[in-house]
Symmetry: C2
Subunit: 298 residues, 2 copies
Amino acid sequence: MDVSETAGAGTPDLFSEEHSAEVVGASFAGTPDARLRQLMTALVKHLHAYVKEVELTEEEWASAIDFLTHTGKVCDGVRQEFILLSDVLGVSMLVETINHRAGGSSTESTVLGPFHVVESPPRALGDTISLDGKGTPCLVSGRVTGPDGEPVTGAHVDVWQANDDGFYDVQQPGIQPERNLRGLFTADEQGRFWFRSIVPRYYPIPTDGPVGELLAATARHAYRPAHLHFIVTAPGYCPVTTHVFVADSPYLNSDAVFGVKESLVRDVSLVDDHRRAVEAGLPNPFHTLTFDLTLRRA
Amino acid sequence: MDVSETAGAGTPDLFSEEHSAEVVGASFAGTPDARLRQLMTALVKHLHAYVKEVELTEEEWASAIDFLTHTGKVCDGVRQEFILLSDVLGVSMLVETINHRAGGSSTESTVLGPFHVVESPPRALGDTISLDGKGTPCLVSGRVTGPDGEPVTGAHVDVWQANDDGFYDVQQPGIQPERNLRGLFTADEQGRFWFRSIVPRYYPIPTDGPVGELLAATARHAYRPAHLHFIVTAPGYCPVTTHVFVADSPYLNSDAVFGVKESLVRDVSLVDDHRRAVEAGLPNPFHTLTFDLTLRRA
C-alpha cells in the first residue's frame, strides 16, 4: 500500500486542506471533452478558494445545501428559481455581457429574463399590445439600422413588458388576456417600427421563494426599474436581446438583476400634437418612447 | 437622472464586465448580519472570477441551470443529491477538514456522508451489527483515549457501514433488515470497545442521478474504498466523526468523495487463535480490524 504522495509528482493522491483544489481538480484530468475538463477544474479551484477564504462552517454549508435544494424544488414549467438566483447574483448579466460584447455603436444587450416563455403574436405596425386597458398609453417607436446607418428593412422586432400591476401575462393566467403586452413587429422599408403600449412601470421580481428570502435576509429590494424588452433579428445581422429603460424610473441605479446599461436609458416624453395623436390613435397629449437600435453585421 | 458612477466613490452604480463583482458585491453592503454579508460578497467575487476565467457561454450557463434544477428535483427524504454533489467536488471534505483541524495525536476526522439518517440502536459490547448474514465476519475493536493516554470510560461509539452488496440499510428498505450494520456501543472502564461486523467492502455512490451523469461525463469512477463509519463522543471531549479504511482496498487513492486520510487506514488481519475465536463468537481463523481513537479535550 502506498497512500503517500506519488513519488516525484506534483499532485498528492490524498486530500489535504492545503492541496484540496489540486487533488480534486486532478480527478477531472481524464475528462474526454477538453472544455468540460477546463470548466470543472476551474470550478473546483474557485469553489475551494471561496470555502477557504470564508472558512465556511458546517452549519453554513448545511444551510447552503438546504437553500439549493429548496431552489430546485420550487422550479416548474413557468417558474425558474435558479435563473432568478443567477440574476440576483449578477451571473446572468455577466454571462450575457461576456457573450455579447458590443462593438462600436451597436446597441448593447442586456438580460433576457425569465418571461420570454411564449411566442409573441405577429402584429401590424401601429397596433396596440395592451389588451387589458390598464396603464398610461404610450407610442413606442424607433428605427433599426446597420453599422453604416443603412435601414434594416423587414427586421423583426419582438417586444414584451409587464402590465401596469407589475406582472407579465404568464404570471397571471386567467387574469390577464393571453399574450397581453407582447408583439412581433416587422420594420418597414426604412427600418422603422411603431406600436402602442403603456408607459412601463417598475415592478418586483418574485419574492415568494428562496431568492426572495435571500433578498430579505440581505436587506436588498426586489425591484427592477421600468423597462420594455426587445429582441431584434434580421438576416445578415447579429440578433440583439435588450431592454429600453425609462429615464426617471425608481431603481434605475439599483436594478435587482443588474440589467441597466446607461446606453439603454430613454426619456418618456409628453407630446402635445393633435395631428400626431390622431395618427397614433391616442388622446392628445400623449406619451412617447423612442428607441433606435443599431445591429452589427453577422 | 444620474446613472454614471457615484461622484468620487469607488464603486460604479451600473453593471459592467470589468466591475461586475464590485457592483454586485456592493448590493449586499446593507446586509444586517456581518457574517452573511461576508459570505455573499465573497461568493459573488469567486463566482464572477470563475465565469470570467472560463468565459462561460450561454449554452453552458443554461446547462448549469438545468443541472442544478435536476439535482434539486431528485432530492427527497432519504436522498440528498446536493450533498453528493458537494462530496464529489471535494467541498464536503474541505468544510469538514477546515472545521476539525486535528491537533497533535488526536484522531483525524473525515466526511459524515449522507447515510447517517437514522439513529444507531444501542448494543452490548461483543454484539454483532450484521443482521443479514452476508459478508465475511470480522471482529472490530479499539480503545478510546484522551490526549494523555487516559481511557475515556463510557465513550459512545456510533458505527455504521454498507453491507456486502455495497448498500446501506436505508437504501434498501424491505430488502435489508432495519438498522442492519448500525450500532451504538459504550466503551468499558478502560475505554475499550469491540463488536462483530463484516469486513467492509468498496462500493459505488449512487450514480442514477445528475451527479452520476457528471461522473460519467468526466470519466470519473464512483467508488469509495472499503470503510466503516465512526462518531465517537464523550463528556469533556470533542466529538470526532471519522472512518477507518481497509488498507488493501481498491480505490484507496481515488475515493470518489476524497475522504481518505493516511492516518485512518488500517490492515484487516486474519487471526488463527481458537480461544480468541470462541471469545469473539466467530469461527477460527477470523478477521480482525483494530482502530484506536484519541479524542481532544473540549
